[in-house]
């Protein structure tokens, strides 16, 4: 089969295991993180099922959804509702249950109220671009599409389908990456990067979270971005009527499986193994309490002398090099150059 041929399977689920088998390597830390996430998802789903109304979903984001959970992972939860339901009694009761379940031990979602609350999902698809599409809406939309997992309910499936439909409704062509979606994926990544600097400025340069935030930009966030880009670029091999199903199948898988799938499709087995081994190393760092404590103690002024940050930098560089080879030194190269640079 030609690399990247249209006859390839749509779903990348299990591709990380396939890559490991083909390359003769293991991704032990990613496996452990995936198994922990699966156990926690099963437990939380069971705990919330009876309390969830039919028309809403409890959804987890971040490492839960990426299958990269560690004992220190935040619990980024949200309740997706139809319009006009966020303040209803049954939804409030569910939110209280979620708070009790997820907001302990400093693992509650961030203070910006992007997650950790009920929100009406139709706006995610209705307001793309322009004034109404504020940071919260952009973040919720992109993360619902790129890294979310439903604990309960089916509202999230309808939400994802509606968002994709909005991106694909106009201007999409055979064998072309859908530009509207592509531009929003790129916009989200650039927004994270710009906001990283914005947060640094407002924290007065001694933000205790700055070093870990920077580490995540080099690793988890970059992987998520690549995991969003690749399915869009691979639309070059699809007829117009295949694109919605192809993207749905791709985005339902973990980002790390999407990336492994792309390496396999393009015949870059060794490169894929090295790239995702670097990511596995990053996950091993997150699983180590001593590493996390050392990172939490670092500040911008002490980061560059730290052995821990040197490990992050090295793993991040290898991840970056692998993704660069995948995007620019493979049969995807012309597509990446045409659509990602200008």
């Amino acid at each position: 089969m030609d690399p990247g041929s249209a006859a390839a399977p749509l779903s990348p689920a299990g591709s990380l295991d396939d890559l490991a088998g083909r390359a003769g390597v293991t991704f032990a830390h990613l496996d452990e993180a995936r198994d922990l996430a699966a156990r926690r998802i099963a437990d939380a789903s069971g705990a919330l099922a009876a309390a969830t109304p039919d028309d809403v979903s409890v959804v987890m984001y971040g490492s839960w959804a990426r299958g990269e959970m560690t004992e220190a992972s935040d619990n980024d939860w949200a309740i997706l509702t139809p319009d006009g339901r966020t303040d209803d009694e049954d939804v409030n009761a569910l939110a209280e249950t979620c708070q009790a379940l997820f907001n302990e031990d400093g693992k509650a979602p961030g203070a910006q109220d992007i997650f950790g609350v009920p929100f009406a999902w139709p706006k995610l698809a209705d307001a793309i671009g322009l004034e109404e599409d504020d940071n919260a809406n952009l973040t919720r939309r992109m993360l619902t599409l790129l890294e979310s997992v439903a604990l309960t309910g089916e509202a999230v499936d309808e939400c994802r389908g509606t968002i994709l439909d909005r991106y694909l409704r106009r201007g999409v062509k055979n064998h072309r990456p859908p530009r509207f979606l592509l531009n929003d994926v790129i916009r989200y990544w650039r927004t994270i990067c710009v906001d990283f600097e914005g947060k640094h400025k407002t924290s007065g340069g001694d933000d205790p979270k700055w070093v870990m935030r920077n580490a995540k930009l080099r690793t988890s966030r970059k992987l998520l971005f690549a995991g969003g880009l690749l399915p869009v670029l691979f639309c070059r091999l699809r007829e117009l009527d295949e694109i919605p199903t192809f993207l749905s199948e791709q985005l339902a898988a973990r980002p790390v499986d999407r990336i492994a799938w792309a390496f396999l499709e393009l015949g870059l087995v060794s490169e894929g193994a090295r790239c995702l081994s670097a990511y596995d190393e990053w996950i091993s760092m997150l699983q180590d309490p001593a590493f996390r404590a050392a990172m939490a103690a670092l500040r911008a002024s002490t980061r560059d002398d730290s052995a821990e940050f040197a490990r992050v930098r090295s793993a991040g560089e290898r991840l970056h090099s692998g993704l660069t080879a995948l995007l620019f030194e493979s049969p995807l190269g012309p597509e990446s150059t045409k659509y990602l640079v200008l």
């Binding site: 060794s270 490169e271 090099s321 080879a325 030194e329 493979s330």
Partner: protein, 217 residues
């Protein structure tokens, strides 16, 4: 060759500037800003390189490796490892030749920064996959610096090179690229070797390719 995004130069072939690390870095930057390998091939060059890197020079490269000494060795091996560990603080990889290692286990403190290079046919060890395996058994975290010209000299069919990558590809740090003359000295990559090495190089597109001799103009 020229379309790879991370091609860099080894300063080992820039003999005119030997010991002048600022000039060597400037010359290497004329070849590429992507990567560089700073070579202290003779042990007396090593302290100067470490001092220079300790001083924190601003370098225009995205990826920096160093090559440890292969000749002029006088330091006790344990002391050499201490110096190489200091070097490792500043670079992504420290390249060491297997035939210069007396006790491989001494090099464990270098961890994943140590890059063991496969040897050419003149060397008594480290040429073939099974020989490298013995070294990696001693150094489980060490990585591989794949010298493609050495692999081609050991087995012109490139089957041994294929075996090395097959067995140790997951450890690959970077690739040394050149051709060899009759005396096994590194010379510019020939057209024939570019074709002979092509399929193996294609499996190494995510790592830097370090030129051990200038490219043909």
């Amino acid at each position: 060759m020229r379309d790879h995004l991370a091609v860099g130069a080894s300063t080992g072939y820039m003999s005119g500037h030997r010991g002048d690390w600022d000039a060597l870095a400037r010359t290497a930057a004329e070849e590429s800003l992507g990567a560089v390998e700073l070579s202290a091939l003779s042990e007396p060059e090593l302290p100067g390189l470490v001092d220079w890197l300790d001083a924190g020079p601003s370098l225009p490269f995205r990826w920096v490796a160093a090559h440890g000494p292969t000749k002029g060795r006088e330091m006790p091996e344990a002391d050499l490892v201490v110096v190489l560990a200091r070097l490792a603080l500043h670079v992504e990889a420290v390249v060491v030749h297997p035939d210069t290692m007396g006790d491989a286990a001494l090099y464990r403190p270098l961890g994943a920064k140590l890059a063991v290079e496969n040897m050419d046919s003149r060397k008594p060890m480290g040429q073939r996959a099974h020989q490298l395996q013995q070294i990696f058994d001693e150094l489980p975290e060490a990585r591989l610096c794949f010298d493609i010209a050495h692999a081609g000299a050991v087995d012109p069919s490139m089957a041994e090179g294929e075996r090395i990558l097959e067995q140790f590809g997951s450890r690959l740090s970077h690739v040394h690229v050149s051709s060899l003359d009759e005396s096994s000295h590194h010379v510019s990559l020939t057209q024939d070797d570019e074709e002979r090495f092509g399929s193996l190089l294609d499996r190494c597109r995510d790592v830097p390719w370090i030129l051990e001799a200038p490219l043909r103009r």
